[in-house]
Amino acid sequence: MSEITVDKNVPAIDVQELHKYFGENQVLKGIDFHVDAGQVVCVIGPSGSGKSTLLRCVNRLEEPTSGKIFVEGVEVTDPDVNLDQLRSRIGMVFQQFNLFPHLTVMDNLTIAQTKVKKRSKSEAVEVARKNLERVGLGDREGAYPAHLSGGQQQRIAIARALSMTPDLMLFDEPTSALDPELVGDVLDVMKDLASEGMTMMVVTHEMGFAREVGDNLVFMDGGVIVEEGDPTEVLGNPQHERTQGFLSKVL
């Protein structure tokens, strides 16, 4: 298993005074948020609280209205930044997996390696195989996504992101579209990743994962961060009324 090297001096993700409007609708109302290198930060909150939008702003899949975002010291919100190069260092996993259905598992894992990272085909295949082993699906490289279960598809999606050798990973509700019995396999892969020292920002409804794996927990509601801190603290002894209300419904 490869060691992930991280620069401990610069925050992996640093969000400053972030605002986001969809038309008239203000979704993020001044967010300050950061993830240190090697940390796992989980973001929870009711639907519509802006947590996915915050995550999608980090690699600018959503365009922030105002505010600044830095990833490893590089300003993502700078209009002149090389966004494609930056994105190739930020792995992203989606709720709906978004595997490429017209490509085999192997091609899903190698296409961006060869076209973006300019790796040779043989090197890309080698990296892909390693990551397929890592998510426990080494035997499925010739399959098409449609022939895999949701849990397998999401693990392939994680392997696809890892194959770009990213410095950090963004997870956007990675288990929300899965049947309950398939959630465990995906969470196991994410736990392994965390224990290897990967920097992770995870938007999730899995409180157990947040408590067990997270270094920091952020509760969002109505476009603001209501409460944050040690996961066990926040989940066990929430200070804010809105956090208490939310947790009483989901726990």
Binding site: D84, G91, F94, F100, P101, A112, V116
Partner: protein, 264 residues
């Protein structure tokens, strides 16, 4: 008399079959079969059409259609991407082009190209002679229709595909060509083939520019022999020749659709 829904549908189906059979019998008995055979399937004329109907006419129809389709497909893809572009002028140009060539009869486009171009650009001709004119004129008409089909296909690919590709660091155009467009083409294979079938038939309009014997395609060939023999047998043979092209095309598409379904 009370009937169950099942009995009622049985009776209704029986009546439908009965009507069809009566219709066929009526047609078969009222038709003048001997004149029909004489006019449409004349054993004396039929052998005279071979092998030219295949070696020249069918060959040219295939050649004109495939060149026009290839040209139209490339131009249609460009127009579709322009239509979806964030650059205003690209969208306007594409929209104007599509509206014009979809709205104007293909026959008029042919005439316009053949007689209009030499007036507009004196001393210059399209390369490739007849083939050049057909490729461009028919291709422009085909491109207008295919652009709309391709645009719909691109928009039918889930937004998450583009997002996933961009999140891996692909540029917009790389993601478009490697991820979105291949999936779009899989979606639009059936309508695109209908387009090819329509183009096959529209290639018959080339007769308006006047063809040499060597450039003659199926319809032109049929018309020549129609006037030579004063008999409809050549046209009937030409009609069957078109089916030789279009029927296998439908079969191929059904196969491809089945394969795409398996991969989905």
């Amino acid at each position: 008399m009370a009937m169950s829904p099942r009995q009622r549908s049985k009776v209704s189906r029986g009546v439908q079959y009965g009507v069809l059979v009566v219709l066929f019998i009526a047609i078969a008995f009222t038709a003048d079969w001997s004149t029909l055979r004489e006019q449409f399937f004349n054993g004396d004329i039929l052998p005279e059409l071979f092998p030219t109907i295949f070696t020249t006419a069918l060959k040219n129809t295939l050649l004109y259609t495939s060149c026009a389709f290839a040209f139209g497909l490339v131009l249609g893809l460009i127009l579709a991407l322009m239509r979806l572009s964030s650059v205003g002028p690209y969208r306007w140009i594409s929209t104007t082009f599509v509206e014009f060539f979809r709205g104007v009869p293909a026959l008029i486009v042919f005439i316009g190209f053949y007689y209009g171009l030499p007036v507009a650009f004196p001393g210059r001709v399209l390369p490739g002679g007849t083939l050049g004119v057909v490729t461009v004129a028919l291709g422009l008409v085909g491109a207008a229709y295919m652009a709309e089909t391709i645009r719909a296909g691109i928009q039918a690919v889930p937004k998450g595909q583009m997002e996933a590709a961009r999140s891996l660091g692909m540029t917009h155009s790389r993601a478009m060509f490697s991820i979105v467009v291949p999936q779009a083409f899989r979606i639009i294979l059936p309508p695109l083939t209908n387009e090819l079938i329509l183009l096959t038939k529209d290639s018959s309009l080339v007769y308006v520019i006047g063809l040499s014997l060597a450039d003659s395609e199926l319809t032109d060939f049929g018309r020549r022999n129609l006037s030579q023999y004063v008999n409809l047998t050549p046209l009937f043979a030409v009609a069957l020749s078109y089916l030789i092209i279009t029927v296998p095309l439908s079969i191929v598409v059904r196969r491809m659709e089945a394969r795409a379904d398996k991969a989905r």
